[in-house]
């Protein structure tokens, strides 16, 4: 399976594969996100995050693991009581007792998870393929008898024998499962390999497929998209990409990539994204990098002349979407890479209209200043330098 061939030809259906079906987002910030080493949400934080996710527009919220008992169960019950306009899903091992805990909480959907790769079956579960099939059928049948929506999670699917994965999917379908979650648990696929595997599953298994991708090699979002192109209909995301190790497919990146790279608009209230990301960053104790795709604080700050000179003439030169769409705003900053466009723009903001000759003098002075200070300049520093210059002239 691994290594993949770097120089094989790719089929036309893969290269031209627009997404033609509806796409549903099942966000797992509250489960896989919280499972991240060192991350714990307070119950009231879980409730607030669920509210924000519903306001944003996600279709399903994976709220936690009822079998953990105690506080976790209380938080899940409280979220169910909010009666949010989304499906509420609880995570379970593929074990009947776990599902009983989920029933206690009143959720409408369950994920039933079990590993399907031989490496997991042998070394972690110390079990057999047949026992895996039995477990998933038993737990699915039990959940269906209680009218729950069932997502069967094929953990470590990307490293599983594809034949066994199909057998697993068929067994789950026979037991009444509503969809299958394809987990690239250790994040070892690229978009091409994701597409191939998911296409086979969608074509052969006859069950709706959900993508659950990890970011170990930085490809979680691209792999999730590739799965959608191959016919998957659900994506499991987390806010800020929070999740085990290097994290999961990030909700905000996926939603915006769907819209701006694939032309699929989910109709979400994207202007809430920055607020949601900041909230989760604080609650998880994992600060948002300023360069974070979609919601990072630096994305719409213009400092280098190349970009700024385009944007002052027309934002379309460097902006694929407007800052307001994700709750950010546009700003100009004078630094080492700034040139006349940025400086002029900055001075205009303070009511000054420098001449070209003044800018030619001013730019190198400001650049040297920034280099000496090893930082961008504050607006007041730029204005003072300009004042000094216009006095001497």
């Amino acid at each position: 399976m691994i290594p993949f061939k770097l120089d094989e030809g790719l089929p036309e259906d893969m290269l031209n594969s627009p997404i033609r079906h509806s796409v549903y987002i099942d966000d797992t910030t509250l489960r896989d996100g919280e499972q991240t080493a060192g991350v714990v949400f307070a119950n009231e934080e879980k409730i607030h995050i669920a509210r924000l996710l519903a306001m944003l527009g996600v279709h399903q919220i994976e709220v936690g693991i009822p079998a953990m008992g105690g506080d976790e169960k209380e938080a899940i019950k409280a979220i169910v009581r909010l009666e949010l306009p989304t499906s509420i899903l609880a995570w379970n091992r593929a074990v009947v007792d776990d599902v009983r805990h989920s029933l206690d909480c009143g959720v409408d959907a369950v994920a039933l998870s079990i590993s399907v790769s031989d490496i997991h079956i042998q070394h972690k579960l110390r079990s057999t393929r047949q026992q895996v099939l039995d477990a998933v059928q038993r737990s699915t049948e039990f959940a269906k008898r209680h009218s729950l929506y069932v997502s069967v999670n094929a953990e470590d699917a990307s490293r599983a024998d594809p034949e066994f994965l199909l057998e697993f999917a068929r067994a789950a379908k026979e037991a009444g499962a509503d969809r299958l979650r394809y987990c690239d648990t250790v994040g070892v696929l690229d978009p091409v390999e994701t597409y191939k595997r998911v296409k086979l599953l969608v074509d052969e298994a006859g069950l709706p497929v959900e993508m659950h991708t990890h970011n170990d090699f930085g490809m979680a979002v691209a792999n999730a998209l590739a799965g959608l192109k191959a016919g998957a209909t659900y994506v499991n995301t987390t806010v800020n990409g929070l999740g085990e190790r290097a994290g999961n497919a990030s909700l905000e990146e996926l939603v915006m990539a769907l819209q701006y790279c694939e032309g699929i608009c989910l109709g979400f209230r994207t202007s809430l994204m920055r607020e949601l990301s900041e909230y989760v960053a604080l609650a998880s104790g994992r600060p948002l990098p300023p360069s974070k795709p979609v919601v990072g604080s630096n994305l719409f700050i213009y400092e280098s002349e190349g970009r700024a000179s385009g944007v002052v003439r027309d934002p379309a030169t460097y902006e694929v979407f407007l800052p307001g769409e994700v709750g950010l705003s546009r700003r100009f900053n004078v630094g080492k890479y700034s040139g006349p466009s940025v400086v002029a723009q900055k001075l205009r903001e303070y009511g000054f209209h420098p001449t070209e000759a003044e800018l030619r003098q001013l730019v190198p002075m400001l650049r040297s200043r920034a280099i000496a200070l090893k930082r961008s300049l504050f607006d007041q520093e730029v204005v003072e330098e300009y004042r000094r210059l216009s006095h001497t002239n």
Binding site: P3, L15, K124, D190, P191, F217, V221, R245, E253, Y318
Partner: protein, 382 residues
């Protein structure tokens, strides 16, 4: 397979808002990169002025060698497609120059207020100037991904005919999905015979995937930055590209991956942009396992939840005890670290206390806290 790697931390990386490296820091970063085996780098943008020229010159004069070899590091400078920019670069003594101009109609019409013919002319002049100075030449197309593919391939063909050694494809706004990248690069590789270099931005989180699909389509060079530092969301992180090539495609570029973390930490300090603890390949927490299921799997067999070993990138595996821990991790921790054997029943009762405490404290537990809880559990038993 021969894939040419270039690091652009010192130019595109430094262009990130608020980031400025001192001359000394630039030299240190270049040295880190050369030592780990990166064969070439973009050292700066000499047209910015004397300070930048000094910094680039000091890297050239350091005569750095790649990895443990005698091969000299190739130092490139960035230049807009202008004769004077190329001259500034040449005066720094660099090995080569990256000549850049936008090729998309959006940029040509709305940023330059010019024509395609003007763009070609500018590129031709700059290449001519670079040839006069005997520089190795990479002709870059900014905003290539939004350019008309016919014009773009014509631009690259012209560059090849004039003597460029390589052409650069920039997904400047990071708008490509990987399959789009594949289609573009496939066509470009059919049009030119010199190597195509990929420069992908991360606006939708797909930079690395775009690089890999570009390589699948026939590109043979990558311009990336360690840690991913760059404009806005940054570039494809060099460490992700190197490790994906090694582990997913079996292509080892000979980079010393154990040096990633140290070099990235240096860049993080110099740029004041912390490495997120979850950063793929180099984040300090990517080998930390807390959840019962994962920790249990890891303790039985690390490959159950690790794509590669922590030693390969000089990190350490950690088992964290917190809300999501299970009894197996507790038993393991108590026996290996404290020398206390826990029976299943005690572990179960301790786990309840651990979970309640972790939720209340909103964090995993320290060892001393674990011991306190353990004592409380034991005393109730007695």
């Amino acid at each position: 397979m021969d894939i040419h790697l270039m690091d652009i931390t010192l130019r595109d990386g430094e262009q990130a808002v608020g980031v400025i490296f001192s001359r000394w820091e630039k030299l240190q970063i270049a040295s880190h990169l050369a030592h780990m085996g990166i064969p070439s780098l973009e050292a700066g943008f000499p047209a910015l002025g004397p300070e930048e020229q000094d910094a680039v010159r000091s890297i050239v004069n350091a005569h750095l060698q790649v990895g443990g070899s005698q091969i000299p590091l190739e130092v490139y400078a960035f230049a807009r497609a202008r004769r004077e920019d190329v001259r500034d670069a040449a005066q720094c003594g660099v090995h080569g120059v990256v000549i850049s101009i936008s090729t998309s109609d959006t940029h040509i019409e709305r940023k330059f207020r010019q024509t395609r013919a003007w763009v070609l002319e500018r590129m031709e002049e700059a290449v001519d100037e670079a040839k006069r100075h005997g520089l190795s030449i990479i002709v870059s197309a900014e905003d290539a991904s939004r350019s008309d593919l016919g014009f773009l391939t014509g631009y690259y063909r012209r560059a090849e005919a004039l003597g460029a050694q390589m052409v650069r494809y920039c997904d400047s706004l990071g708008v490509n999905d990987p399959f789009t990248t594949y289609r573009h690069i496939q066509q470009i590789c059919q049009a030119v015979s010199i190597p195509v270099q990929l420069h992908m931005h991360n606006d939708f989180g797909m930079a690395t995937a775009n690089v890999l699909l570009g390589l699948r389509a026939g590109a043979r060079a990558v311009a990336a930055s360690l840690g991913g530092l760059g404009e806005r969301t940054g570039n494809s992180p060099l460490e992700e590209v190197v490790m994906a090539l090694k582990h997913l495609y079996g292509v080892d570029l000979g980079v010393d991956t154990t040096r990633f973390r140290e070099a990235a930490e240096y860049i993080a300090k110099a740029s004041q942009r912390a490495i997120p603890v979850w950063k793929a390949i180099i984040g300090s927490s990517i080998f930390a396992h807390e959840s019962g299921i994962h920790a249990d799997g890891i303790l039985k067999h690390p490959h159950t939840y690790e794509a590669f070993s922590p030693e390969e990138v000089n990190l350490e595996r950690q088992i964290v005890i917190g809300k999501h821990s299970g009894t197996h991790a507790l038993i393991h921790k108590f026996s290996t670290e404290f020398g206390i054997p826990l029976d299943g029943e005690t572990a179960g009762r301790l786990l309840e206390r651990v979970r309640a405490a972790a939720v209340e404290l909103k964090r995993p537990l320290f060892d001393k806290e674990l011991m306190l809880l353990y004592r409380a559990v034991i005393h109730r038993t007695v």
